[in-house]
Symmetry: D2
Subunit: 148 residues, 4 copies
Amino acid sequence: MTPRDPDYAARVARGFAAQGFMALLGADLVSVAPGAVEIALPLRPELSQHHGYAHAGASWAIADTAAGFAAQTLMAASDGVLTVELKINLLAPAQGARLIARGRVERAGRRLTVARADVVAVAQDGRETAVALALGTFMTLPGLADAD
Amino acid sequence: MTPRDPDYAARVARGFAAQGFMALLGADLVSVAPGAVEIALPLRPELSQHHGYAHAGASWAIADTAAGFAAQTLMAASDGVLTVELKINLLAPAQGARLIARGRVERAGRRLTVARADVVAVAQDGRETAVALALGTFMTLPGLADAD
Amino acid sequence: MTPRDPDYAARVARGFAAQGFMALLGADLVSVAPGAVEIALPLRPELSQHHGYAHAGASWAIADTAAGFAAQTLMAASDGVLTVELKINLLAPAQGARLIARGRVERAGRRLTVARADVVAVAQDGRETAVALALGTFMTLPGLADAD
Amino acid sequence: MTPRDPDYAARVARGFAAQGFMALLGADLVSVAPGAVEIALPLRPELSQHHGYAHAGASWAIADTAAGFAAQTLMAASDGVLTVELKINLLAPAQGARLIARGRVERAGRRLTVARADVVAVAQDGRETAVALALGTFMTLPGLADAD
């Protein structure tokens, strides 16, 4: 997958920094490559649901952001990105030191991009457990580049 | 839909209060009825994505919580609830004074419940715009009542 | 919902008649209204899965067709329609005299339409049981009207 | 992934043979391995939608069957399998000599299994194009082994 905008990584970093919600959650942008974006989220009590695990909404939010920005890495410099729909399957309770969402483009179209995100929980000892799998559709917004 | 646990509303209120994530977002439990739960989320910059609208993760989180607790209103007093999967379609940008998620059970089974949630944005003048529609599957966890 | 093409019903009928797959299944177009299409499918052994009920693929196919054509009823005369994605939740075993899929537009956009379809099984005595609920995204294809 | 039933492949073959719907479509069971099942569907006009491509319902049906039987390969000999929900994203028009659905288990649980299926179209010259990607949930039915 070849990026059309050589500045794609800086563009994703600007878009990520402009998301108040990622800051509220405490998420970090880990890596950006053509068609692939990784986001980490250190776990803490404020992210919990009623059983004490991380709320699925936290997994969904970083999955959506990782998959959406992965889609944007393949778009033109002037294009913005929007989530059309995203489905997530929860595979295991989200617990450990942090979550990592790995977004990856499955098919990039002119108007619509299909992307997935795998969410893993990382324990203190570094071992990973798959906690969620998301699949969604993202729309190209010509002329609506993000964070402008 | 007849609740099996006469104390269903108090149980949902306890479960909601035990979710650190709902407090982090600033969400409120508005109403609880058999098979139906409503959650409100006042909008503020901390909930934004990169275009300034509310992040879809905020809509997803309250949709999931409203639909999941709607499912739990029809379960036995000792049953906990878990999200198996939830898909959301984003219909319009989420902006205004607050979001409201209305969860509703579509079919309650012994093990699995299918529920939907409609998310609307409410403007300062009270007018509502549909912003998202979610459909998901929730699992009954016998003996794992929430917030215990 | 006001149709932009006064000939919308005849257009859907032509599109339906052009689907070899609907004929293979034995499905009938029951009704067409602005934003709403109904399709019936008489059940027979050729539609079964391995437990003897109707295969979920039969429910999915009529749900997709009903929701997609419901989307098309609100499009311009020259517009074609394409399924972007569709999720289905199976609620109960599909058995009885026939299935009916009722497609309905949830939100019609310029490029994308979100539509749902409810699938019910109808017994010999006319009683209906909900068997599936589908939610999906459909794309407008300008200048690619169907069955031309 | 280790199968609990050494006879898993024959069991899937019996289940597949018992599906009238797969015969109606003309689908073939290509291969069965632990956690992975492949199904082929030769394309013909009877499978078409209104633009002449294969109907998405044909892709969905073989994706569901491949993913569901992939889930069953990891279940006990006495367990049946049921689709809870399945979402499909359509990536490209389905045309060519045949479709192949490759189902694969993402996570096998005691009650619920999450599986995906990739659908490719194969041209006369053997080249493959990705046409669909499906992600779904399957339920274990203890004591309800298929095709018995």
